[in-house]
């Protein structure tokens, strides 16, 4: 044990890591720990530095400052191929001249695993990703989803100490993405894989990760267990990225303020946070309305708060200038500390 302050001595530990490209700082003093068998997602808009951070951990991008440690050992100077990490790209990057099995066994061959051992492991992994018996297929003949499954099998085959996933599902269409996200979570759990998962898709991050970090402009703004991040974002920037569009002082709602929110706290509202309800305690004036999936979206003006979004259930559809009563849905409302 090296016993650096706060270092757990196991898993991944980043301390004030910075990566710059000329004058631009892509990753700005990010500190982060991942426990063994934990899955952490980094969420952020494109260009926020999350992929660069991932590449720095893999050893593909040199760091300008800070340290990357695995199990307490500094990885500075350890080349990519000696780190024992796996990396899954957005578009698979399968070797086009090898068949499916040839791709999956590549890391095992690099590790000097004997033929019989490789074959057994390849079979095991193809079964894990649901592609049993496809080992002899040419990779070009596979669909996008299948290619990504092969890429996952390839990166898991050498039993990486840490799996890095760079938007692995972004290139797939929506239905497939949702199904694969669930599969991916299941596979990572079953194999107890330690993983760092980078994405710009909230649903994916919350589906797959134990903890979610939000990045912007190279900085890690907040990292917390999924539920906590969702309900209690650290500030308006994080909340905004998570889809909270309006911010109102909790005190403005008076008695309607959700439990757990102090009078000085700020509430983050989404369009679903306020719902039209004949018994609701809040009164608003409809400014505009539009159809949405399964109901009507409203823009209402509330005295002391301003103009915010709201939802009306399918049956009751108030027109413009109508007065409506609203109630707050605490489950989709964020509570932020006083600004």
């Amino acid at each position: 044990m090296t016993g650096h302050d706060g270092a757990t001595g196991s898993g991944l530990e980043l301390r004030e890591v910075a990566v710059t490209f000329g004058a631009t700082t892509a990753v700005d003093d990010v500190s982060l720990c991942i426990e063994p068998a934990e899955v952490v997602a980094l969420l952020g808009p494109s260009g926020c530095g999350k992929s660069t951070l991932l590449r720095a951990v893999a050893g593909l991008e040199p760091t300008d400052r800070g340290t990357v440690r695995w199990a307490g050992t500094d990885l500075r100077g350890v080349p990519v191929h000696r780190r024992g990490f796996g990396l899954l790209f957005q578009d698979g990057q399968l070797f086009p001249h090898r068949d499916v099995a040839g791709n999956v066994e590549f890391g095992l061959r690099m590790a000097g695993v004997k033929r019989a051992g490789r074959q057994a492991r390849v079979g095991e992994l193809l079964e894990l990703v649901g592609l049993s018996g496809r080992g002899g297929r040419r990779v070009a003949s596979l669909s996008g989803g299948e290619q990504q499954r092969v890429a996952l099998a390839r990166s898991l085959a050498p039993r990486p100490r840490l799996l890095l996933l760079d938007e692995p599902l972004s290139a797939l269409d929506r239905g497939l993405r949702e199904r694969l996200a669930t599969d991916l979570r299941e596979i990572l759990r079953r194999t107890s894989t330690t993983a760092l998962y980078v994405t710009h898709d909230h649903d994916e991050a919350f589906t797959i990760a134990d903890r979610v970090g939000v990045m912007d402009h190279g900085r890690l703004l907040q990292i917390a267990p999924a539920e906590q991040l969702w309900r209690r974002p650290a500030d308006e920037q994080v909340a905004q990225f998570l889809g909270y569009d309006w911010f109102v002082p909790a005190s403005a709602l008076g008695a309607a303020r959700p439990r757990g929110a102090g009078p000085d706290d700020v509430l983050g509202l989404r369009p679903e946070s306020l719902v039209v309800d004949a018994d609701g305690p809040i009164i608003g004036l409809v400014v505009d309305r539009h159809r949405t999936r399964g109901g009507t979206g409203l823009l209402v003006h509330i005295d002391g708060i301003g103009t915010v979004g709201a939802r009306a259930p399918g049956t009751a559809v108030p027109g413009p200038a109508a007065r409506v009563r609203l109630r707050l849905e605490p489950a989709v409302t964020a509570v932020l500390p006083p600004a």
Partner: protein, 559 residues
């Protein structure tokens, strides 16, 4: 430790090609410049004033430019319809016609010259035109040679041009001609510009063809350098002319590189779908032009060459080919000229093959090392800048004329520290210098097309730098290596510009022997020259044909 060893490896890999290029290209070329510009170590432009004062110089520069402009214009005007017919239309036998069109480009320049002459001299099919030794004959040969460049470069782009843009224009009310002019032509412009600048370069530096066809009254900068050096022994004038040639070449290379970049950008927006459709009535003009070019311009000289090689004083036969085992006809009337070739033509062919083997492996070693280095993506900005300079430097020999290279060797490598004049390695090295840019141009696009993340994927899975190369780069490169070997071998077989300066009298190559034979009186010598040209053409076509089997079909591939 590990990192240190890797740096040393990279440095060594860089030193080999750098050293090669430095000694065998930069030094000779710099020496030429120095000879033209320096007198007793001081800058003196007197040589320029003298050379440019002469009417002969201006006539030669004028002829060079006129032949380049005429050759390029005609090649483009004829080549664009050809590209359309051969790449945008579908008809039985298209693959055969495409291959036929390519044959002239890979033929050695001396062979092209001899083939055209066989058509135009007394007894040739077109003797009535009285065009032997004229400007028109030279331009026709240049178009013959470069038609394929335009057809293949423009065709490759046209084949992948999304037809919907033109269809949209038609739907908006444009006539077919208008849609072509306003939509298709602008889209093809980068390819046309790229092909035209390349053709201009080839026309401006054409040597063997002009020397054989042009006759005594006709000359270009390229042939003039050769004449000044070998006939008048005026090295200063030759150096000044080489400097002029360098300037012309650098200019057209810059235009070529610029238009190639534009074309690469344009290529990204194309579809991979098959766009060719069956011939239609409206295609008739393009089909007629292409048929005329293929039959009259491309096939006629080749047929004439073949026929001439089979014609003997007493009818048809293989007499000329049988003579290839001899060293030529001795003239009793002119004893001075009657000296034989010193070697038999078959011996010269064997020399050519041996030299080509050496030139090819030298060019491949240097070319592959350059490509591997240039496609590295170092993290340090300084190293990245150094690499881009390295990249540009290795494209230079592409444009520098072979005659300049040969002349440069002659004046630098003939005395200590490096006296190679009597060494047998000089010719292969000179030919390798000429072939290296072609090797690089064949391999580099393939290596560049490999997604860097594919190499990263291999590295993450535990492959060290050497393993990454063998596991990712090499398999992708595989087929192109065969193509590059074929190109290098064919270039070396047909190389005449540099070799004509450097080949020792007792070890001539096949092109050199052909040139000597046509310079001699006697029907047997001409017949032998034709037969030897057929042999050389067959060897080159065979090599290229084998290499073409390795060609990876890609939109970016050219000539």
């Amino acid at each position: 430790m590990d990192r240190h060893r890797r740096r040393v490896g990279v440095a060594l890999a860089g030193l080999v090609p750098m050293g090669f290029l430095g000694v065998f290209f930069a030094w000779p070329v710099a020496s030429i410049l120095a000879r033209g510009l320096l007198v007793d170590g001081a800058l003196d432009l007197g040589g320029f004033a003298e050379v440019f004062d002469s009417d002969r110089t201006w006539r030669i520069i004028g002829q060079t430019l006129a032949q380049s402009v005429a050759g390029t214009t005609l090649a483009v005007l004829l080549g664009v319809p050809g590209a359309y017919v051969l790449y945008r239309c579908r008809f039985p036998g298209r693959a055969v016609v495409r291959a036929l069109v390519t044959v002239p480009f890979v033929l050695p320049t001396v062979v092209v010259g001899v083939a055209f002459r066989s058509l135009l001299v007394d007894g040739g099919a077109l003797a009535f035109l009285d065009a032997d030794g004229t400007f028109a004959a030279v331009v026709a040969a240049l178009v013959f040679f470069n038609y394929a460049v335009v057809v293949r470069t423009v065709g490759a782009m046209w084949a992948h041009l999304d037809p919907r843009a033109e269809q949209a224009a038609r739907a908006l009310g444009a006539s077919p001609a208008r849609a072509f002019r306003e939509v298709t032509l602008p889209a093809l412009t980068p390819a046309i510009a790229s092909a035209a600048s390349l053709v201009f370069l080839f026309c401006a530096t054409a040597f063997g063809t002009v020397l054989v066809l042009g006759g005594p009254a006709y000359g270009t900068v390229e042939t003039e350098i050769w004449i000044q050096t070998t006939q008048f022994l005026d090295l200063r004038t030759a150096a000044v002319l080489s400097t002029v040639q360098l300037a012309v070449v650098t200019l057209s290379l810059t235009v070529s590189a610029w238009s190639r970049r534009r074309r690469e950008t344009a290529l990204r927006v194309q579809s991979d779908a098959e766009t060719a459709r069956p011939l239609r009535r409206a295609d008739l003009p393009a089909v007629l032009v292409t048929a005329a070019v293929v039959l009259a311009l491309l096939m006629a000289p080749l047929a004439s060459l073949l026929a001439g090689s089979l014609r003997t004083p007493d009818g048809w036969g293989l007499h000329n080919f049988a003579n290839l085992a001899t060293s030529g006809q001795r003239s009793t009337a002119e004893p001075g000229l009657g000296v034989g070739l010193e070697v038999s033509v078959w011996q010269a062919a064997l020399n050519s093959l041996r030299i080509a083997v050496d030139a090819t492996w030298i060019a491949m070693v240097v070319g592959v090392l350059v490509c591997v280095l240039v496609t590295r993506r170092p993290h340090r900005p300084g190293a990245r800048r150094a690499l881009s300079v390295f990249d540009a430097v290795f494209m230079l020999p592409l444009g520098v004329s072979a005659v300049t290279v040969g002349f440069g060797f002659l004046i630098t490598l003939d005395r200590p520290p490096l006296d190679l004049r009597s060494s047998v390695v000089l010719v292969p090295i000179a030919q390798a210098v000429v072939a290296v840019p072609l090797v690089i141009r064949t391999l580099l696009p393939v290596l560049r097309s490999i997604d860097e993340r594919l190499r990263e994927a291999a590295a993450v899975l535990g492959a060290g730098p050497a393993r990454v190369f063998t596991a990712v780069d090499l398999p992708v490169l595989g087929r192109s290596l065969g193509l590059a070997v074929g190109f290098a071998f064919a270039v070396s077989l047909g190389e005449f510009g540099a070799t004509s300066f450097l080949a020792r009298p007792d070890r001539p190559t096949l092109p050199v022997v052909i040139f000597r034979l046509i310079g001699r009186p006697g029907a047997d010598n001409l017949g032998m020259a034709l037969a030897a040209s057929v042999v050389l053409a067959a060897m080159t076509t065979l090599v290229i044909g084998l290499a073409e089997r390795f060609r990876v079909h890609s939109a970016g591939a050219e000539v």
